[in-house]
Structures are given as structure tokens and as C-alpha cells.
Amino acid sequence: MRDSDDESDLRTAFAALRREDATEAPAFEALLARARPPGGRRGLLPLLGGLTAVSVVAVVLAVMAGRRPGPAPSPAASIEQWIAPTDFLLRTPGYEILQTTPRIGASPVLPPAEGAALSGPRPKRRSMS
């Protein structure tokens, strides 16, 4: 379908434009020659791409093989060994006394051996008879 209702003036103007452009058009062969990839280059690009991919995979595998995984720390052990940064605040004077069970006859301040020596032999109880 052609919309040709009274547009001959415009068609004439555009035809003049077309003639002008036709004189400026580059030669088809020259443009096509520039559009053609140079011989061998087209086959070389996929080859280069493949080689790059293979070398990247090889490097990744080598790095992974070189890495020896150490024994994984158990989460329970790591929690047990953990010490809070403010832990020292809990160590009050006399902390050791509070941590040990007192014994009868032993000094609560001195070590057990010294404590026993200082206390000496027990006085004999006099019989009332």
C-alpha cells in the first residue's frame, strides 16, 4: 500500500536527496573488504580463548592441590578454651581460698603441709577418772 495522497512535492525533494547520497556512498567492495575478518584471525580467537580457560583451570587446581587442610578444630573445644577479655576482673583477692574446700586442722591461708606442721600434735585429753 502506498500513501501517495498529494505528496509528490515531498517525494521529489527526497528523490533529490537520494541522488546526492548515492554519489557519496562508499564502494561496496571496499566496505565489504573492511568488514571481512583477516584470514586465520577468526580461527585463532576461539583457540586463544580455549587456552586461557584451560590455563585458568590448571592454576586453580594446582592451588587447591597445594593447600593441605589441617585438622578442623572442634567447636566444643574452642568454646571451652575461650577466655573473655574481662576475665581478670573476676579474680578477686583470696580467690584461691574460695576455690578450695577447707579441711579441719589445715590453715586456710598456708599450703596444706605448712598448715599441718604449724598446728602441731594435738594435746592429749586428760581423763577425769
Binding site: 500513501d3 525533494a13 527526497f14 533529490a16 536527496l17 547520497d21 556512498a25 573492511r34 571481512r36
Partner: protein, 170 residues
């Protein structure tokens, strides 16, 4: 379609294709040549395949239009990526060759100036129908819109162009 056949078809339509590439590139000759070259490469490489669903000419024009749009988009992206001061100069207005300008007729020059002032869609449709002598249906295929829309845009474009040419002639 064989490569030899494709080359023959491209050669036959070369003049018209160059005119359409110029229209797609806002009459920048250098850019039009690059777009046309990229299009030929696409067609001959098989990246753009003609399936026979339309005329070869309308299909080729659609490929040229798409290639020009891709190129323009890439230029914009590049301009955005560059420094701000360069962004303003990334899309320089094509400077026409003085010799070429001198050889052109006054009427043709006025027509080109008026066309450049039109919206892209209207400019494209006027070119396809009046310059390339395609039907409205073929123009719709190239631009990728409905025939009804083409009719509306084309009608408005003619009125606007006539008004501009009349104003310029006074």
C-alpha cells in the same frame, strides 16, 4: 542463503542501505559507514540470519537500524563511564565537510535541516516511505511497530515537515 547470494543481495541494496544508515546516524557519514560495515559483518558471519519471513530489504534495514541503536547505546555507556568533563564531548555533533556542503543544492540542505529537527520516529518513517519508497506495511516491519502507529506518525511527520519547509522558504 549462501554467502555468494548474500553478498549479491547486499551489493544490490548497497546504495539504499547507505542512505538508511545515514538516516539512522543523523547524517554522520563516518558513523554510517561503520554501522553499515558492522551490519555486513553480522549478515555474512551469520549473527543476523534472514529467515525469509519478510522482504530481504526490510529485514536488512531492520538490522541496520538495530546496529546503529546498539552503537549509539555503547557510545552513551562509554560517555557515562568516562569523566564528567568528557561526557559532554562524547557525542560530538558531526561536522559536515565544507566541500560536500557546497556541492549540495539549497533545497536538499533545507530538507536535511528540517528532517534533523523532527522526532526520530517521524524522521525514520519519512525516510523509509519517501526516500526508500517502502510501503507503510514495510516501514512498520523495519521500525517494529504497528501499521496503525506508522500511519499516524507518518501523517503528523508530513504536516510538520511541510510547515518547517514553508517557514524556511519564506
Amino acid at each position: 542463503m549462501s554467502r555468494a547470494r548474500l553478498e549479491a543481495e547486499l551489493a544490490e541494496l548497497h546504495g539504499a542501505s547507505f542512505g538508511w544508515a545515514l538516516a539512522c546516524c543523523r547524517t554522520d557519514r563516518g558513523e554510517a559507514e561503520e554501522v553499515l560495515q558492522a551490519t555486513y559483518l553480522k549478515v555474512l558471519d551469520g549473527r543476523a540470519r534472514f529467515d525469509g519471513g519478510s522482504e530481504f530489504k526490510t529485514w536488512l534495514f531492520a538490522v541496520i537500524r538495530r546496529t546503529a541503536a546498539e552503537r549509539r547505546r555503547r557510545s552513551w555507556m562509554r560517555a557515562l563511564a568516562l569523566d564528567r568533563w568528557r561526557a559532554g564531548h562524547a557525542e560530538p555533533t558531526p561536522v559536515p565537510d565544507p566541500e560536500r556542503l557546497a556541492s549540495r543544492s539549497e533545497a536538499a540542505r533545507r530538507l536535511r535541516v528540517s528532517l534533523r529537527a523532527l522526532p526520530a520516529r517521524q524522521r525514520e518513517l519519512l525516510h523509509l516511505v519517501l526516500y526508500q519508497e517502502l510501503s507503510l506495511e514495510e516501514a512498520a516491519q523495519v521500525v517494529g511497530i504497528s501499521v496503525g502507529s506508522v500511519r499516524t506518525h507518518y501523517h503528523r511527520a508530513k504536516i510538520r515537515l511541510r510547515r518547517m519547509l514553508g517557514e524556511g522558504g519564506r
